[in-house]
Symmetry: C2
Subunit: 200 residues, 2 copies
DNA sequence: CACCTACTTGGACGCCCGTCCATGAATCCG
DNA sequence: CGGATTCATGGACGGGCGTCCAAGTAGGTG
């Protein structure tokens, strides 16, 4: 009801869309349901975004990916450092099953769209990739040596593991299993990194 | 048009649904579109399945997961054996991007449903898990020793990696990247397995 | 042959969808 | 102050959705 700039209104509508889509699924996030959630009349949505597809794209671009703080890991043994890093990552991702589910709904939905939509899905994954790659590079620098694995490939692998674990966790809702699988991967990685150090 | 038993008709309808959903997305697989694809009148779908949800559940249960033939890996060095195994797995999964996309659409869709739907999603993942776990156990037996990682956890981890890689591959369509990431994981695993052997 | 079960057929029902648009109100600016 | 721009509002439109059902038809059984 209060008069807002279109820009501020867009932020409100994106937030409302996230709320609805997280709670009830992306399919339930209809224009009417979003307008109701945001407390605005129906026409406002199309006034601000022009189309529902543009709104969904804006929602995908608004999704924030976890951050990794490498400073916490200094002076820890390799295996403990990696386990800690994954645990921190998981605490951010694993807090809300439905939120993570929405990310996969967005990725699959956008993957069926036109080139512009697919580009947005790509960016969504690349944001996570960039965060992980930055953390890996910072960690390698702290370690004072190069890793026995290409950091860019390792970052892709870490994203794959967390995404895969998240997907299974969404489906079977088993927190402990997700934790154990990620910790196992962290320890595998630690073995390789330490063995690489011995060889060097 | 030809008179078929309801059971045979169900198979036809499931196949038609898969065709439509693979090609155009799960959202595009409406009852009308499915009936058209199968060449049957609209009412037939509900006669055979009672509801669209039951049809989608049947579709999810019909999805076959890759098989892994461990016999091929005998007498290969560990790293080559694992790389070969992942490559074989990928040749089955990575042949059709849209088919893999449908699996994720089904998983997210079913995860939003009631308990029965979520159970079906769980089975879909568990089929892949069972296949991988069986292969791991067979491989460990061929190796003649126990692995340094719990096979059930390792199987979950392998599923996570392949699912995560598939997801990224669906989004960015980069075959080479998917291959490289999986091969890197295979080699990481080989290092750990071989180092576990040395310790033993 | 008659009968009953099983399958077929296509239209009708009510609902919700995304989009559009005409009108009105607020705000900004020369 | 007055005109122009920007935002607000809610009803209307055409279409597609899942579901239901009454009538028709084939096949097997007594």
């Amino acid at each position: 009801m209060p008069r807002l700039s279109a820009e501020d209104r867009r932020v409100e509508l994106i937030d409302a869309t996230v709320r609805v889509a997280v709670a009830e699924g992306l399919d339930a996030a209809t224009v009417r349901r979003i307008a109701q959630e945001a407390g605005v009349p129906l026409g406002t949505v199309h006034y601000c975004f022009g189309s529902k597809a543009a709104l969904i794209s804006a929602v995908a671009d608004s999704i924030e990916q976890p951050t990794i703080d490498v400073a916490l890991l200094e002076s820890l043994p390799t295996d403990q450092a990696l386990v800690t890093a994954f645990r921190s990552y998981w605490e951010q991702i694993g807090s809300d099953r439905r939120r993570q589910l929405l990310i996969y709904e967005l990725l699959t939905h956008l993957s069926r769209g036109d080139d512009a939509s697919r580009e947005i899905a790509r960016r969504l994954i690349d944001r996570a990739y960039g965060a992980v790659l930055g953390a890996i590079r910072a960690y390698a620098q702290d370690l004072g040596r190069t890793l026995p694995v290409d950091p860019t490939v390792l970052a892709r692998l870490v994203i794959a593991v967390t995404d895969g674990v998240s997907l299974a966790w969404i489906v079977n809702n088993d927190d402990d299993q997700a934790q154990v699988v990620m910790e196992t991967f962290a320890r595998l990685l630690a073995v390789v990194i330490d063995s690489g150090a011995e060889q060097a």
